[in-house]
Symmetry: C3
Subunit: 104 residues, 3 copies
Amino acid sequence: MTQQATRLVIVTEKVLTKAVAAIIESYDASGYTLIAAGGMGSHNTRSSGEPSVLDHFGNIKIEVITADPDSAKKIADAVSERYAADYACIIYIDPVEVLYSHRL
Amino acid sequence: MTQQATRLVIVTEKVLTKAVAAIIESYDASGYTLIAAGGMGSHNTRSSGEPSVLDHFGNIKIEVITADPDSAKKIADAVSERYAADYACIIYIDPVEVLYSHRL
Amino acid sequence: MTQQATRLVIVTEKVLTKAVAAIIESYDASGYTLIAAGGMGSHNTRSSGEPSVLDHFGNIKIEVITADPDSAKKIADAVSERYAADYACIIYIDPVEVLYSHRL
């Protein structure tokens, strides 16, 4: 069942988990994986230029494997348009080869 | 020590952690990384079509970096043949470039 | 805002988290993501050849997304030169396509 697919990764604030999950489900993706994450990003750096306090595990990494690169981009657009101005957020895609899945 | 390698990723139910680790070790992979994960997948969606309850962190993401793409595929085959009918499971591979490793 | 970028991944022991974060910040990367991890690696296998005890979540996976592949390699070199002799460590890179980021 080898199949080329797109891995969509969204790293954002944990408080957005349900909102982003709802967007993913609205684009008919068959599933997603949630991973607790921490980190430091430019969005969180104070305007003084001092490094921000390390926020341990207040973020979430959300991964979607989809056979449709367009739906990955639509999910990314919807998330960034609604939330990126107000929340830390990075979104990227990466081609992968799926060896097994119940359904893509 | 740059070296082309294959990243094998198995996302499945946490209860299978030891079983999948034993399969990986039997194929002589030099190591693996375990990450707690949650998520929603087609396997978990109820037949009514209603969205499943979000299962926070009942899953595991297992990553293996190997110089041998064949062993990645053999591990994937062994895991999916034994467990995929009964457990949520997605398996994919992704080429990576290893910059440092004690041993691949 | 689509942009080719490099995903740098460092999996090492949790005790090195602050040291590796300081190296990443010194190379002007705009951020990183931290994920708690466990696993088994060749470095941890006892010299008797017996499998090591599974160390649940004593490791950390650190991810950096950067537009500059050279800075990814410099961070990898700095981390491996200072810590790889004494700590479990694997470092790899993977090209990704960034769909949204505040700043790369």
